[in-house]
């Protein structure tokens, strides 16, 4: 058994996705009124096409660009490694989404913006805070006062 190349791994994952997609396509209920093409035909065609393309991908030799890997920088801790930064950012964005309504738009956005800026290594904290707060407030006021779009106020009174 030879080692699988990147494309072959990708092809296996895509084939699994296509399989799951097709399984769901068969669960789409039939419409009670007669229709030349019901809701399930397109998904089925798409599922099989994806499956077919996965097979093609399996036999395609990966190009150099396809397999490029991140050049690891010597990192002080895993948290500040490139992948660490991506993961922390993703978690922060998810936390922001969940905190937006309870904490309010201004507070949550400022925390996210200023927090991540500092985390990415920007050391001038005053400039950081002032810029982020300025942008967030400007956006907030434009949306709520000028455009009359409601944004969650949260814990702050306005």
């Amino acid at each position: 058994m030879t080692r699988l190349n990147t494309n072959q791994w990708l092809a296996l994952v895509l084939a699994l996705v296509a399989g799951g997609y097709l399984a769901m396509a068969w669960q789409i209920p039939t419409f009670p009124l007669p229709r030349p093409i019901d809701s399930d035909l397109f998904p089925k065609v798409l599922g099989f096409t994806l499956l077919l393309l996965a097979v093609c991908l399996f036999f395609e030799t990966p190009s150099a660009a396809g397999a490029e890997e991140a050049e690891e920088e010597p990192a002080t801790s895993p948290l500040f490694s490139p992948w660490g930064r991506v993961i922390v950012t993703a978690v922060a964005v998810a936390a922001y989404a969940l905190l937006l309504v309870p904490a309010g738009f201004v507070l949550a956005s400022t925390l996210l913006g200023a927090g991540l800026t500092a985390f990415y290594g920007y050391r001038r904290h005053v400039i950081n805070l002032v810029t982020v707060l300025g942008v967030v407030l400007a956006l907030y006021l434009t949306m709520t006062r000028v455009m009359d779009v409601y944004l969650p106020t949260g814990v702050l009174p306005f």
Partner: protein, 332 residues
Amino acid sequence: MKTLSLKRLSVLALPLAALSGLGTAAHAQEWTPTRSIEFIAPANPGGGWDTLVRTVSRVLQEENLAEQNFAAINVPGGGGAVAWAQVARDSGNPHKLFATSPPIILVPLAGASRYDHSDFTPVARLITDYSIVLVAADSEYQSINDLFDALKENPRLSIGGGSAPGSMDHIAIAGVAAAAGMDAASVNYVPFSGGGDAMTNLMGGHIEAVVTGAGEAVGQLGEGSQLRALGVSSPERLGGGLEDVPTYQEQGVDYTFDIWRGVMGAPDMPEEAVAYYEELFAEMLETDGWERARDQLGWIDAYQNSEEFGAFLDEQQEQFSGVLRELGLIAQ
């Protein structure tokens, strides 16, 4: 100045009443909102619900009718289901209202929402629109019966509408077809992405007829227009640009269909709050500002108070599920 001093008096009177523990019943009826009211349009800006919410908020503010601000909030998604789920969680909240119309009955019937009208507190029905059937100006059909006769002969003739099967436009055409003695399910209803889309396709001769809201169609009718109306679902002839359009009943088809819009509140809203809003909306409908807005938007007043509205909604649900059953879209 009179109102101001009265208001001040009531501010003083309230804590007094609370202290003395007197007149709970009397004061209960004089409930007033204590903070701004969230008035939800369960859709994106621009649609029917949104227009209603923003117009009502604006008129209330301009006419100085409400003690508190009505804040228009858009909660789009799922044809309303997202907003309904959100309001349903807020049981008893007297500061939460939303705009409503037939989808509050149709979407749950289609199984796309866990909540239906019975989960919420009806506040008031405000306005209504009617359903209208259009054909191309040079079409051979002169009456709604001509169209149905042709349909009986050739069931493939397609009738376009602006919403998915089983929703408003489909129910409207299926209902009148059934009333005219046809099999509702035999109508070849072709859904388009909106009434405008359907009308464009009618002008291009791609379909035979269109069913849509009368308010949406009024701009397309009149002299020199490419479209012509065969009938409207109102009990009496409408005014404005639609006075020449005969009703279905005039043409011997006993059928009416309302596209009503109203206001509902969170589940188990306190009675006093419902009473307050009922009165507020009734008062609003009398103002000049409302009259102007209503006429410009082509709406027709159709006020019902909370109790009447609730009973009306139950009736509507029965009527709709009857048509849907006939179509085979819900189980017998």
